[in-house]
Assembly symmetry: C2
Homo-oligomer: 112 residues x 2
Amino acid sequence: MTASDGLHPATEDIRLPTVLAALADPARLATVQTLAQVGESACTQLQEAAGLSISRSTFSHHQKVLREAGIISVRIHGTQRLLSLRRTDLDACCPGLLDAVTSARADSPQPV
Amino acid sequence: MTASDGLHPATEDIRLPTVLAALADPARLATVQTLAQVGESACTQLQEAAGLSISRSTFSHHQKVLREAGIISVRIHGTQRLLSLRRTDLDACCPGLLDAVTSARADSPQPV
DNA sequence: CGCATTGTTCGATGGTCGTCGAACAGTACG
DNA sequence: CGTACTGTTCGACGACCATCGAACAATGCG
């Protein structure tokens, strides 16, 4: 049993419906897809890279949803939070899901 | 361009966020997972097999959401509608997604 | 210390969603 | 024709969600 730090759920606590719900929002999906390309990055840079024109508070909310779903992990570095994907943990819950979602074409580029 | 029949979206109109949103609901996820196991089946039988204790109208709603997302197709046979997965169409939009979701353990069996 | 930068938290608001029962529609069977 | 079965549609209701600005906290820099 992997202990939880209050921020990230333990690997065995990751639930598929919760993960899918987190990925269902276009802004969060773009965040995850971008994160898969650029790797670990801070909130503002990631939001910029994903092309999300939303307020900081809204992005912070999305980041929290992704984190609580077990999709991303947060590492503090100075004033900024570095976000990264929890690949292995996600694969433990649902093998192939992350690859399927991140390798999917960004489709008809929908402005978010 | 595959023509749409008004009930099912064309293959190229299937959108990943819509698919994920459809799969995010526990009742719909259970429906899809069950459908992957038992194959084509009618609404009432499928609802029974999935162990969903919800009203017929609610299941009809879920079936509509899955259908409009492009996840399932409906075939009329007498008084009943036979539901089945649109495997190839889904794989065209997002290869591996359906397998990842249907092969995932039903996890901690959550009563729905 | 003072200021800028980076994110979070806190209401508030408007919209969407899941659920239900009741009413309706279509088909099959006597 | 009448009854039964299967499923859809229609409000309605309560809950949840995405979004925002404002206020706050924490760190780094001069």
